[in-house]
């Protein structure tokens, strides 16, 4: 006998408001319907009623986890329109912030995944490490979230004490290598809970336009930092971990290895960051003049590619601001990943896609 289980939009088991209807036959999920939009704030519409400076602050509120990528994408789009080229040092600082944010997001994800697996020791370890990343972000920007670092033509603050970030980095690398990677890759309990569970095939990932670690865990080697480098990524050496199994375990592996790559990128950026200014030198009269035109910018957020399209009509208020977030592309894949799976595995499968409904709904 089939029955329908409505979960959400407000439910103790959900971190964010969305609604999932699971149609089950016994303990097996046979279909699923996803309903979003419970966190819709009309940010695109609001951004078309604020000037470019206000827009930076607004779009940083799209997401509480990957706030930096939104202001970065917004600023990069405007910079293409008005030609305010950030200095080299600012580009490196943007990379460092982006990778610290990736670490913060991945630790959060790994902690929640560990909790759902039933491995609460790793949940605690991940959240302890996440606190250290947030300490580093706070030391650089003054804020734990919504860092306010990006500006049109550069960044607002310099990294005054790189050595303190280096020491945090060393501690994180040690813990990732010693604790997180061995458990995610080798532990039998984790393997039995995750291997072969919630599979998204490469064909499904491509057809649905999946991005980020979700796509890379399904064998799609797509990463904007490599394929269309921005900021200072073209100067830095790093690998893009790709797994082919497409299951929850593959997502764990990709996320864990990406944490190490982020540490590698931050270390390189801190040691090779050029001296110099952090803001473009433009005349005060032309500083925020944005000529008419349309520009697009893409950034590899922790959950995958973010795309901003901005159309200017030559005034100080953008005519159109388009925000496409990674979860908007990724969440439709949940239906494929839960069908045929045990009902009890559905929370872990959903979480393994690393959803963010604040981003999705905007």
């Amino acid at each position: 006998m089939s029955y329908r289980i409505p979960i959400g939009p407000y439910h103790p088991a959900l971190e964010e408001p969305y609604k999932l209807e699971l149609i089950c036959d016994g303990e097996t999920v046979v279909d699923a319907n996803l309903h979003i939009g419970f966190n819709f704030r009309g940010i695109e519409y609001l951004a078309e009623r604020r000037n470019y400076l206000q827009g930076i602050t607004l779009v940083e509120r799209v997401c509480g986890i990957c706030s930096n990528v939104h202001s970065l994408s917004f600023c990069q789009s405007v910079e293409q329109l008005n030609g305010a080229t950030p200095p080299e040092r600012a580009l490196y600082i943007r990379v460092i912030l982006a990778e610290l944010e990736r670490l913060h997001s991945h630790f959060l994800w790994a902690g929640i995944a560990a909790k759902l697996i039933g491995f609460k020791t790793i949940f605690m370890a991940c959240f302890t490490l996440r606190e250290k990343v947030m300490d580093a972000l706070s030391a650089i920007s003054g804020n734990r979230v919504n860092y306010g670092m990006n500006r049109i033509g550069g960044v607002n603050r310099d990294i005054m004490d790189p050595s303190s970030v280096m020491s945090i980095l060393a501690e994180m690398e040690r813990e990732i290598t010693r604790t997180i990677i061995p458990i995610f890759l080798e532990d039998k309990t984790v393997e039995s809970r995750c291997k072969g569970v919630g599979i998204l095939t490469e064909e499904q990932a491509i057809a649905m336009g999946a991005v980020g670690p979700l796509a890379r865990a399904s064998g799609v080697p797509q990463d904007i930092r490599k394929s269309a480098p921005y900021a200072a990524y073209a100067d830095l050496q790093f690998e893009v971990p790709v797994e082919t199994a497409g299951d929850v375990r593959a997502r764990l592996v990709v996320h864990a290895l990406e944490m190490l790559e982020s540490c590698k990128i931050i270390r390189q950026a801190l040691t090779t960051i050029p001296e110099g200014p952090i803001q473009a030198t433009v005349s005060s009269a032309g500083k925020f003049k944005v000529p008419a035109g349309t520009a697009i910018s893409r950034v590899e957020a922790p959950r995958g590619e973010v795309l901003y399209q901005i159309t200017s009509n030559g005034t100080d208020i953008p005519e159109r601001v388009r925000v496409r977030t990674p979860t908007f592309m990724n969440m439709a894949t949940v239906r494929f990943t839960v069908i045929g799976q045990e009902l009890a595995d559905s929370p872990l499968i959903q979480a393994s896609c690393d959803p963010c409904y604040s981003c999705t709904d905007r």
Binding site: G42, E44, L81, A207, A228, G293, A332
Partner: protein, 141 residues
């Protein structure tokens, strides 16, 4: 324009994506004066292995909606631009499932009707809610 950029423009022509592609502000753009057949373009993009990224709707002064379809071809961003006719345009969601949510969202925000869809279930809004919520003129009322 650099030699590399010119070479890519030629490549796009050779791949059957037509002439007139021009690089500007982070993307290759195709902005023909005549309306594009979005379904044919989608089939060509899919055949080339391009990845669907997004569709951006923008309200025009003539009350039609400009639609920019963005694709990624080997890391290069390709955007082709067309517009609705009487606020209607053919769906590509059956050819490219990745476009399903973005079409539903565009229907709700800009009241665009995507012809050929089997159904257009609400995505951000709920059944019975008004459509066109991002249209400037509607909110101005």
């Amino acid at each position: 324009m650099t030699t590399e950029a010119t070479s890519f423009e030629v490549t796009l022509q050779e791949k059957g994506l037509g002439s007139g592609w021009a690089w500007s502000n982070g993307s290759w753009w195709l902005t023909p004066t005549e309306p594009l057949d979005v379904r044919t373009m989608t089939e060509q993009m899919r055949a080339l292995g391009a990845r669907f990224l997004c569709m951006t709707a923008t309200e025009r002064t003539d009350k039609e909606i400009r639609l920019d379809y963005q694709w990624d071809l080997d890391g290069k961003l390709l955007s082709f631009v067309t517009a609705t006719s009487s606020n209607r345009i053919a769906t590509i969601a059956d050819l490219c499932p990745a476009a399903d949510w973005v079409e539903r969202e565009t229907h709700e925000y800009f009241a665009v009707e995507f012809t050929g869809r089997k159904h257009t279930q609400p995505l951000m809004t709920r059944a019975g809610d008004p459509i066109g919520i991002n249209l400037h003129k509607e909110v101005a009322k």
